[in-house]
Amino acid sequence: MSCLTWIPGRSWIHRVTPEARLFSALVLMVALTIAEGPWAAMGGGVLAVVLVGLARLPLRLLGHVLIRLNLVLGFMALLLLPALCGSSLVESPAVRPSGNGFSLLGRMVWKGNAMVMLYLALLATMDPMALGLAMRALRLPSRLALLYLLTVRYVDLLHHEWERIRRAMGVRGFRARADRRTFRLYGHALGRLFLRSLERAERIVWAMKCRGFKGHYPLSSRGRWTTDSILFAVGSCLAAVLIFALAWIR
């Protein structure tokens, strides 16, 4: 079992190539972040909902993610409330919300939700490995892509190694308690995990060297841009332009 999950499916979005989806996600997220004004936010939100619909995301999962997101946002709003209200304790003991503060908060929550929906619809619908390949195909910084790919490749192995260590402790009667011995044993286990990871990292570098690696990671396939994916990318650019246009409406 993998500890990295994604949302498989057979929707139209799932069939668009990962490169086109990553490209679109980047363009749309940048547009949504930069474009100001309620209309732009509204446009982005509608677009996100449409994409979620097209990707046929399971509603339960969508609900779970959005509830968690909004709990965090709500917590942040609580922390920011004094600033949002523009009231000071000296001036008035009662909280007098300022319209401006609340509209900013509203926009933050709205855009946050729209972003996460965009992310779920476009990026969470592809295998994490495919996302890394798309990063490379789009010529995003190659070190970033390589780092991401190696992480995805080996995070599972690390997870398995940790499970193995824990199971080995479990079969010999170890039960976690809140005492010194538990902490010490967990310390040993973590140390062991760290050592094994270091050793593995060394062997991976060896394996890379053995196959002629000299610091440059070659790109092993040429991009595959199908008509569908080009249309999708162009469509996203148009949508981004539309969002910017909406920002001009007063």
Partner: protein, 218 residues
């Protein structure tokens, strides 16, 4: 010139001070020679293979590949593509996202043209009977498939020698037979470290025995 493919002398190695795994071992591998490297657990079989590839460095002795003395990292860089080392744990070897990337990694590093690398990768996948696995992600393969892909990823570089570290460990019988058939058809020099007697008898013709840090050549 009539130099050995690989010649080494007085190689030693210790992971902990005072506990040498290898003590001044010497030997040579001729072109096309097929050697079984045997010895008990911890005898230093893997260590010897790593020394031969220049991945570990011996404080004593030396190493010559194709008549060329190899001391520094650069010397080894040039010969590594010509010798393939199969690691004991396939997960160490398969770090690329997909089987296809795995196949293209070596040849492109060697500076081959894209089309040459592509052609050789396809040919190798067919030879190994895994042409329908090209787009699979390597970490989702079974142990047997991983071993085949790891071997294929070396084969595709057209090495003149293969060093195999426990090629059949942890494999079921059918995977083992496939690995055996492929290794048996390899035309170059071969060193196989293994405990699998039947496998060794099938693919090798000489024996090197590692005992207590010394290499006995039969």
């Amino acid at each position: 010139m009539n130099a050995s493919f690989l010649r080494f002398w007085n190689l030693s190695y210790a992971y902990e001070e005072g506990r040498a795994v290898l003590r001044e071992v010497s030997g040579r591998i001729e072109r096309g020679e097929r050697i079984a490297l045997i010895g008990p657990n911890g005898a230093g079989k893997s260590t010897l293979l790593l020394l031969l590839m220049g991945l570990l460095k011996s404080p004593t002795g030396g190493l010559e590949i194709l008549g060329r003395r190899c001391r520094l990292e650069q010397d080894f860089d040039e010969v590594r593509g010509r010798i393939g080392l199969l690691f004991q744990d396939s997960d160490d070897q398969l770090f690329n996202p997909t089987v296809w990337d795995e196949m293209m990694f070596g040849p492109l590093n060697l500076g081959w043209s894209f089309s040459r690398a592509e052609a050789k990768a396809k040919e190798t996948l067919v030879l190994f009977g895994i042409e329908n696995q090209a787009s699979r992600f390597t970490h989702r393969l079974s142990a047997g498939e991983k071993r085949l892909v790891a071997l294929a990823s070396l084969w595709v570089m057209e090495p003149e020698a293969l060093l195999l570290d426990e090629p059949t460990a942890g494999l079921d019988d059918s995977a083992r037979q496939r690995v055996k058939a492929i290794v048996a058809s390899f035309p170059g020099s071969l060193v196989v470290a293994s405990h699998d007697r039947e496998f060794l008898e099938g693919v090798t013709s000489r024996r090197w025995n590692l005992v207590a840090g010394h290499l006995e050549i039969e």
